[in-house]
Symmetry: C2
Subunit: 211 residues, 2 copies
């Protein structure tokens, strides 16, 4: 997709298309019209056509979209056609929840977890070994790791993010309640999951709806 500029808003919607198309594929559906997809996703058919037109003419008049082609094409755009190797920093509940999720089908394979609590020494979660944090730099020297999920408390997150960046990590999936992006080298991509901010949106929407 080199050279093609797709708006951020469209990109933000792609994972949802990808999810619906994956579900359709699993149900054995081979093609779908923008109208039917519109009904399922509760997005207008014209929005769907506009969004998907960004990637060339996948839809054919009177035929609809080829589900598998479209799924694969969107997967390519999102970079899901290549495997990313991931580690999880923090083996607490959240780290374990992520380890159990199995994001392999999204192109993210977790190969190790790290924690500084000795109680986790030698633990294995869904086949994924937990190492001590002090072993991290050595591990990163010997393994090609692209991404680290960071599930540490806020006060340790920034320092750890810098250790990760110094050791060649290119992407950080940040669950700490702080903005790492502000302090990291330019080449490092950060995606934040700020749970309490999500909860505040819920609070706001409740307030609007019920008062």
């Amino acid at each position: 997709m080199s050279g093609k500029e797709i708006s951020k808003a469209v990109i933000r919607r792609l994972p949802r298309y990808y999810r619906y198309l994956g579900d359709l594929m699993n149900q054995g559906v081979e093609r779908i019209s923008s109208g039917d997809l519109s009904e399922q996703m509760q997005v207008t058919a014209s929005q769907i056509r506009q969004d998907l037109n960004n990637f060339g003419g996948f839809g054919q008049q009177g035929y609809g979209y080829n589900v598998k082609n479209l799924y694969e094409e969107i997967g390519k755009i999102l970079g899901l056609d290549r495997m990313h190797y991931m580690i999880i920093i923090g083996a607490g509940n959240l780290g374990q929840a992520l380890a159990n999720y199995n994001f392999d089908k999204n192109g993210f394979k977790t190969i190790a977890m790290f924690d500084n609590n000795p109680k986790f020494q030698g633990s294995v979660i869904r086949g994924i070994p937990v190492y001590m944090t002090e072993e991290l730099p050595e591990f990163l020297k010997n393994h090609a790791v692209d991404v680290a999920a960071l599930t540490l408390p806020k006060q340790y997150a920034a320092e750890m993010a810098n250790v990760l960046a110094d050791n060649g990590i290119k992407g950080i999936w940040n669950f700490a309640h702080t903005d790492l992006d502000l302090h990291l080298p330019d080449g490092v991509v950060v995606e934040n999951v700020h749970l309490s901010e999500s909860l505040m949106q819920l609070s706001y929407n409740l307030e609007q709806k019920h008062i």
Copy 2:
């Protein structure tokens, strides 16, 4: 704030202001200029002034913003000045991670968890009791609960969401990988945390930056 229309984009930015202002308050900072706030948050000062002007003249020329006032005012807009009572459905790793988070300071107090796995019978997590799922309707009859965090696998999520809605829950914080909003009564507010979609954004941004 009744009757005032604030754009969705501004609302989405409010939790981040709230977080920074809370941090400043904890550091004992009493007032801050839009310029200083701009530097910390890496947002332009004019954006900050524009955003905060939506809520009346909190900033004073040559004085800046009163941190505590602004923090409280934004808290009120987000509905954080009243306590929401929350339950967590699912006592697995993710449910336990949420229970351990302590969102009380965001106005969300978790009062119970529910799971159908008998191994959790009688468990207590950070003081929060875990009940069996069959006890849920009775519990909701006897307790004023506003919000449920839903940490069930996708295939059970929709049915549970309907049980919750039928029993008076007004807000669902949904971690299942499916769009509940499409099937729920109008009065129920859903906020989704779709982890794999967040991971796909990370994948896309990595692809853009490094290829």
